[in-house]
């Protein structure tokens, strides 16, 4: 993916080139490209006069940022204590098997990224799976396929509309 410098520049200008706005700027870049491209980070480092290594430190610290391109949909499987005892790991395994990727990675067709989270603060409805912003309560291995299909289908429908 080619990174347009003016776009990154506009994000930086939006925050008046302030060092303290680093996270906000990174969030904008993440939203725009679905990941943090290398060139963009280098550019931000030059513009804000923050050492590149510090930016990388921030970017790798928060799971909201990714240095790898993310998929269209992000699947987050809860691995918090409550969901863990109710079978979270098995559901994750099922996702890994169906998507043929390990957690933390993205499918080759860039449709799905798989991640784990530690408690989404709705333990009562666990095990919880969140796709994009949508919560799926009390999931089981059997639901995994339906969930994936739902989002795959959406894609197709959109294509038909166009």
């Amino acid at each position: 993916m080619n990174v347009q410098t003016d776009k990154v520049k506009s994000f930086i200008n939006k925050y008046n080139c302030k060092q303290s706005a680093l996270i906000a700027i990174l969030q904008e870049i993440q939203a725009e490209y679905n990941y943090l491209p290398k060139n963009a980070l280098i550019y931000v480092s030059q513009q804000l006069h923050i050492p590149l290594i510090d930016i990388i430190g921030v970017a790798t610290f928060y799971s909201a940022f990714s240095l790898e391109p993310k998929g269209e949909h992000t699947v987050k499987v809860c691995m918090g204590t409550a969901c863990h005892v109710r079978g979270g790991p098995k559901i994750l395994e099922e996702f890994e098997r169906r998507l043929e990727i390990e957690s933390g990675h993205t499918t080759d067709d860039k449709q799905f990224s798989l991640d784990t989270v530690a408690c989404l603060e709705c333990c009562a409805i666990g095990p919880v799976v969140v796709v994009d912003e949508n919560y799926h309560a009390q999931t089981s291995i059997r639901n995994v396929d339906t969930i994936l299909k739902k989002y795959r289908k959406k894609e197709k429908k959109n294509e038909e509309h166009q």
Binding site: K38, L41, P51, L52, I53, D54, I56, G57, T60, F61, L67
Partner: protein, 238 residues
């Protein structure tokens, strides 16, 4: 001037000193690993733990980062401190059993067993190299990345950084880079070769390693001879 109690001694410290600096000033040794005089403090290795407070409300703090305060009561060698310190060494040993510095620490503080699985990593995340690069070499080529069990020290994108001038400062200061010596059993996790040598080459003065050998254990060097013994000897002579 701030007044505090250090191992039951009344001592004075200057505003802004840490407990470690105060102890050093008074000649008390506190072991450290991630502390270096020329660098900022980090408090990552927890080797410099001391116990503060009195009575039931004592707690362990890292002396290299804890600033002195008026009326503070500090103990540097309580049982709790010694045990915690041993544990820290044991844990670090399990991460990097190939490091000479950590093996030496283990010998010095009598860590003779390791109850954890050896992970054989090359880094204990003490952050000395990161601070060395940024503060002394003005480099900022390496830094911490990720978090939790994935935390590591590396350059941006794991390739050679343009900031790096190959000064070698990071390797110079690294406590894990120097490999352990070939002791009698180089494959074991705990070397302890220095400890078992006779006389030992580590400066430990516990009762077993009194430089007077067995003479010191009984306290002869500090206690006066009991008076009645003399009387009995004298009586015998008579």
């Amino acid at each position: 001037m701030i007044n505090l109690k250090l191992n039951k001694l009344d001592v004075k410290a200057e505003q802004g000193w840490t407990i470690l600096e105060t102890a050093k000033y008074y000649g008390l040794e506190i072991p450290t690993l991630c502390y270096n005089e020329g660098l900022s403090t980090y408090g990552g290795c927890r080797l410099c733990l001391v116990e503060i407070g009195e009575g039931e409300n004592t707690k362990l703090v890292s002396s290299c980062t804890y600033p002195v305060e008026e009326g503070l009561v500090v103990h540097t060698d309580t049982k709790r401190v010694l045990n915690a310190r041993k544990m820290m060494i044991e844990l670090m040993l399990s991460v990097a059993p190939n490091s000479k510095t950590i093996q030496d620490l283990a010998s010095k503080f009598g860590v003779t067993q390791m109850r954890f699985e050896a992970r054989n990593e090359e880094c204990i995340l003490c952050g000395l190299c990161v601070r060395m690069c940024a503060e002394q070499m003005d480099g900022k080529a390496i830094g911490f990345q990720n978090r939790g069990h994935k935390r590591k020290i590396s350059t941006p994108f794991d390739v050679r950084s343009e900031e790096c001038r190959l000064c070698g400062g990071c390797m110079y200061i690294c406590p894990a880079c120097q490999l352990r010596c070939h002791g009698p059993d180089p494959d074991s996790d705990v070397c302890n070769a220095c400890l078992t040598m006779d006389p030992t080459c580590v400066d430990v003065y516990d009762e077993l390693q009194c430089w007077m050998y067995d003479a010191g254990r009984c306290g002869t060097c500090v206690r006066e001879e009991e008076p009645n013994k003399k009387d009995i000897q004298n009586a015998d002579k008579k």
